[in-house]
């Protein structure tokens, strides 16, 4: 016993080093392996506060581009609104989706921190539990998909960006029902890869890629990007498509968090199905 204690006292520095090393490697392996992982994330009060203040300074530089994007989106929404009224006169569709049965609700939040230079990129946004944001909600802006909420705190959340080698998003070619998985290869911030589209599908350069309908997180038909290149290899029956994103992921201001109101119902149903 005495010898064991002596051993610990003699080697206390080395043991401390090993302990700290094991802790840090544990943290690294956790973030690399699991989806909802990081113990240490910027979704906490201190980091959120710092990034919010830094962002307040940076925001001034992007006011003009931000305004332009909002004006464009306004114009688009107006065009939808005007076109809708003209249709309504001839075809009256009532009670198809009453107001209280809206499936999705939208929460607006501001990006206070955006990274895009590593393999696993995250955004930090101002808005958390208090605003009703929870993990696994979809994040979009007027141009298209941005990512999925990873972790939330009281006032802040982190978003797993579409530019994260861990993220997998269900997507399809607009107007068809060929589904595939959207993943980033970690190289160019403007492009992502869509895999698992069968070779039977007719695809053309410039076709639009949108979110698929089998996801609980995103509604159907949210734009993502256009087809830039498609290639197959001899052995597989699937295309790998390089998709150019509509969003400039290096320049994000305000974003919308999509809340699926039925998510609890769906999750409960799925859990019950698994139990049996």
């Amino acid at each position: 016993m005495q010898q064991i204690i002596n051993f610990f006292i003699k080697n206390s520095t080395k043991l401390l080093f090993l302990l700290l090393l094991v802790i840090s490697f544990g943290l690294i392996i956790q973030t690399h392996t699991f989806h909802q992982s990081s113990f240490i994330s910027s979704a906490n009060g201190v980091t959120g506060y710092v990034y919010e203040n830094v962002n307040n300074f940076k925001e001034y530089m992007h006011l003009k581009t931000e305004n332009d994007a909002l004006v464009l989106e306004n114009a688009y929404l107006k065009s939808i609104a005007y076109n809708n009224t003209s249709v309504k006169d001839s075809v009256e569709i009532k009670n198809l989706m009453p107001a209280e049965r809206q499936e999705y609700s939208i929460i607006v939040a501001k990006v206070i921190r955006n990274t895009f230079n590593t393999k696993e990129n995250y955004l930090t946004i101002k808005g958390g539990d208090k605003q009703g944001i929870q993990s696994d909600m979809g994040v979009i802006n007027s141009n298209g998909v941005i990512g999925i909420i990873e972790k939330t705190s009281k006032n802040y959340s982190t978003v797993q960006s579409i530019l994260n080698v861990k993220s997998k998003i269900n997507a399809k070619i607009k107007g068809s029902n060929h589904f595939g998985t959207l993943q980033w290869d970690g190289k160019n911030t403007g492009y992502v890869n869509l895999s698992d589209i069968p070779r039977l599908a007719e695809i053309y350069k410039g076709d639009t890629i949108v979110t698929g309908g089998i996801s609980k997180i995103f509604p159907e038909n949210i734009p993502i990007g256009v087809i830039e290149k498609a290639y197959t290899n001899e052995t597989s029956n699937y295309f790998t498509i390089s998709v150019r994103l509509f969003n400039d992921m290096t320049n994000l201001g305000y974003i919308y968090v999509i809340k699926n109101k039925d998510i609890e119902e769906i999750n409960q149903l799925e859990a019950e199905t698994k139990d049996e």
């Binding site: 206390s12 520095t13 401390l16 080093f17 700290l20 090393l21 802790i23 840090s24 490697f25 544990g26 943290l27 690294i28 956790q30 973030t31 690399h32 992982s37 990081s38 240490i40 994330s41 910027s42 906490n44 980091t47 710092v50 990034y51 830094v54 940076k58 990274t115 895009f116 230079n117 590593t118 393999k119 696993e120 995250y122 930090t124 982190t158 970690g186 911030t189 290096t250």
Partner: protein, 174 residues
């Protein structure tokens, strides 16, 4: 609290603030961020207080990790650099550095442009830190070229920022 501890705590906080507010936002060519926060580890006094040295390096790294959402890679890289520092010191300044009661801050800030030993010491430290950092960040062997490319480019920028900072805090000759 003596003045050595105080100046080290001040350096810890100042470098951390500079790293988070300035150097994490540089994004040179879209992917290069210098990491001059490791100057804290480079300039830590060389007397034999290893537990505090390890703990301080680890804490420094984990705070940077927290702001970067990067798991524990900065903590691990800083800790390994702290562990390797005695060997780097021995290699650059010769085996007898411990007996000369080397004042590392004075030596480094004074001789940065004149002495090859000091330059070598800083370069080796930065390279070790960055290899561990990017190796852990990518965590895969098929990214080996990207790891090397990033290590080299980031090492150059980190070295430049470190030398710039050392030049700025250099005591004036009177």
């Amino acid at each position: 609290m003596n003045s050595v501890a105080f100046s080290n705590i001040a350096r810890f906080i100042a470098l951390l603030i500079a790293q988070i507010l300035i150097f994490n936002n540089i994004d040179l060519f879209g992917f290069i961020n210098p990491f001059p926060y490791i100057l804290f580890i480079i300039l830590f006094p060389t007397d034999n207080n290893k537990p505090i040295f390890y703990l301080a390096s680890f804490t420094l790294g984990i705070i940077v990790d927290m702001f970067e959402n990067s798991g524990g890679i900065h903590a691990a890289a800083s800790l390994i650099l702290a562990f390797a520092r005695p060997s780097i010191l021995k290699f650059s300044f010769g085996i007898s550095y411990q007996y000369h009661n080397l004042n590392i801050i004075k030596k480094v800030t004074k001789d940065i442009f004149t002495s090859l030993e000091v330059f070598g010491y800083i370069t080796i430290s930065v390279v070790i830190h960055h290899i561990v950092l990017f190796g852990l960040e990518f965590f895969r062997f098929n990214f080996i070229w990207e790891i090397l490319l990033r290590t080299i480019l980031t090492t150059v920028t980190t070295l430049l920022t470190c030398i710039l900072i050392l030049y700025l805090i250099k005591p004036s000759k009177k």
